[in-house]
């Protein structure tokens, strides 16, 4: 065995949009061990629950992460409603699903762009981000915000969709679907993408289960743990998770490409039979003493929300367990034995969101 070298990777690195530090222990060009160190984005959001009331916390929670902001709002709001026993109108439930799926489309397109950027395929990066802007236009038209949409409120949603909004969303769905045909062809068939991804960062189903991997990362290894399967609102739409068995970077990429199309189908179905009626109910009073937990499938995987009330307007605890936090051990396992040149690809394919991880 040769002499081992330690190469620092990050926190500021061209392949990383976000700061995370890895110490890569190399034997020649092969990674023997990767030791992550985090804390560069830690803010201490959960502690703010002591000084912000449960309504104000919605806005704080949405800023756990800017990319999956909608998912965080969805999780927190559902957890508080569960704690307070609020009955949310059916229309609001479906509207939340529509926006959650739209945010998944935007997040996956963003990720596909970053993946292309990571492998130096700049034109594909630009195309993915161009398509993504159509979804952001919907957000901007309906809610006024491009990335932080603040659509979920305790008791319902921030605003109703008008018929014009609905026809705009359907039009964007058609356009994105058409463009996705081309994107899918490039990601599935282009030789430079295939050579860069196939067989890289392989992880088996058993290992994935052992390390508790979540989200598209786990579904790329054939682990069916999509939290949407357990959500009533999604069951009503006939949701089926997308699974691939190969467990390499290519499989994880395919899961996300397919999920974009699936989300578009879900949005169409949801808007097709949108229930009429109320879209927000007033919520009065304070959360009672007690606790409630809620699971939500965000674009990056399963997030777990826990809230504990004490009868005052301030919650005792609002805890988030985010998907990237869980996927960091799977990432370090994937990095073992890979070549130095593949490190950035493997880090990107777990879709790391460090801001979520550290809060």
């Amino acid at each position: 065995m040769g002499k081992r070298t330690i190469v620092p990777f990050g926190p500021q690195h061209p392949a990383l949009p976000e700061p995370v530090h890895l110490d890569l222990e190399l034997d020649g060009e092969t990674v023997v061990r990767a030791v992550p160190s985090i804390g560069y984005v830690h803010r201490g959001l959960e502690k703010l629950v002591e000084t912000r009331d449960y309504q104000q916390m919605t806005y704080i929670m949405e800023r756990v992460c800017g990319i999956c902001s909608m998912g965080h709002g969805y999780g927190y709001v559902n957890a508080v409603e569960g704690l307070m026993g609020v009955e949310v109108p059916d229309r609001a439930k479906v509207l939340r699903v529509v926006f959650h799926e739209l945010s998944r489309v935007h997040s996956h397109l963003l990720w596909l762009g970053l993946l292309a950027d990571g492998m130096g395929f700049d034109s594909l990066f630009m195309q993915c981000w161009r398509i993504r802007e159509k979804v952001l236009d919907v957000f901007e038209t309906v809610t006024g915000g491009r990335v932080i949409v603040s659509y979920c409120r305790i008791g319902g949603v921030a605003c109703d969709l008008t018929p014009e909004h609905i026809s705009m969303i359907l039009k964007v769905c058609d356009e994105v679907e058409k463009e996705m045909d081309w994107v899918r062809r490039v990601f599935f068939l282009d030789s430079s993408v295939r050579n860069r991804l196939i067989g890289v960062g392989q992880i088996s189903k058993d290992e994935m289960v052992e390390l508790c991997g979540v989200g598209p990362t786990a579904r790329g290894s054939g682990v069916d743990n999509d939290a949407r399967s357990a959500d009533e609102a999604y069951q009503a739409l006939g949701f089926e998770p997308i699974l691939y068995d190969e467990g390499d970077c290519y499989a994880r990429c395919k899961v996300r490409v397919d999920e974009v199309s699936q989300s578009i189908e879900l949005i169409r179905k949801a808007l097709g039979d949108l229930p009429e009626g109320e879209w927000r109910v007033p919520v009065k009073g304070n959360p009672p003493a007690g606790q409630f937990a809620f699971r939500v499938e965000q674009p990056r995987g399963e997030a777990y929300y826990y809230v504990k009330g004490n009868g005052t307007k301030f919650l005792d605890r609002a805890r988030v367990r985010t998907p990237t936090n869980i996927n960091i051990p799977t990432m370090t396992r994937m990095l073992q034995g890979c070549g130095m040149q593949d490190v950035s690809m493997i880090i990107i394919t777990i879709d790391p969101c460090i801001s979520c991880t550290e809060r």
Binding site: C65, G113, E133, S355
Partner: protein
């Protein structure tokens, strides 16, 4: 206008932002907004950068990283604080781990508020940053000329 202000290169670092501003910074470079038409290139290397775009507030762990990145950039350099967190700490200002805006650690020239800052305002911030860069360059050259002429007299 010098070559630098015709093609300012950007270094982007996420201090402790929620990603909202980061993806807007990237959105600036992609086809809809296309900041590259101003000659802007996003570089990962501080030694080649002219404008330092910093998003998010500064905390104890990353203040040294921010400081180092700033020190590694060659003169003249401009710092643009993107988003309200980088300006003042924003919604996170009361968090125990947040020291405050980027100006607690490095001198900031242009502030771009917003949560998340819109691509239009980020581009506006960059364009304002270029003006500051040009000013700093002119000042530097003036000083160089002064010291040279003083040198020849003595």
């Amino acid at each position: 206008m010098s070559c630098t202000s015709k093609s300012p290169w950007i270094l982007h670092y996420d201090a402790s932002s929620c990603n909202g501003c980061d993806i807007e910074v990237l959105a600036c470079l992609t086809p809809i907004y296309d900041a590259e038409r101003f000659g802007v290139i996003n570089t990962g290397d501080p030694k080649q950068a002219d404008i330092f775009l910093i998003t998010g507030a500064v905390n104890d762990q990353n203040k040294e990283v921010v400081r180092q990145l700033y020190d590694q950039m060659p003169e003249p350099k401009v710092v643009v604080a993107v988003g309200i967190c980088a300006c003042s700490g924003g919604i996170f200002r009361d968090c125990y781990n947040i020291l405050g805006g980027a100006d607690k650690v490095i001198p900031v020239d242009v502030y771009v508020p917003g949560c998340a800052a819109r691509p239009e305002s980020i581009i506006d911030g960059i364009v304002k940053g270029v003006a500051v860069l040009e000013e700093k360059r002119a000042k530097m050259e003036g000083e160089k000329r002064c010291s040279r002429s003083r040198g020849s007299r003595s």
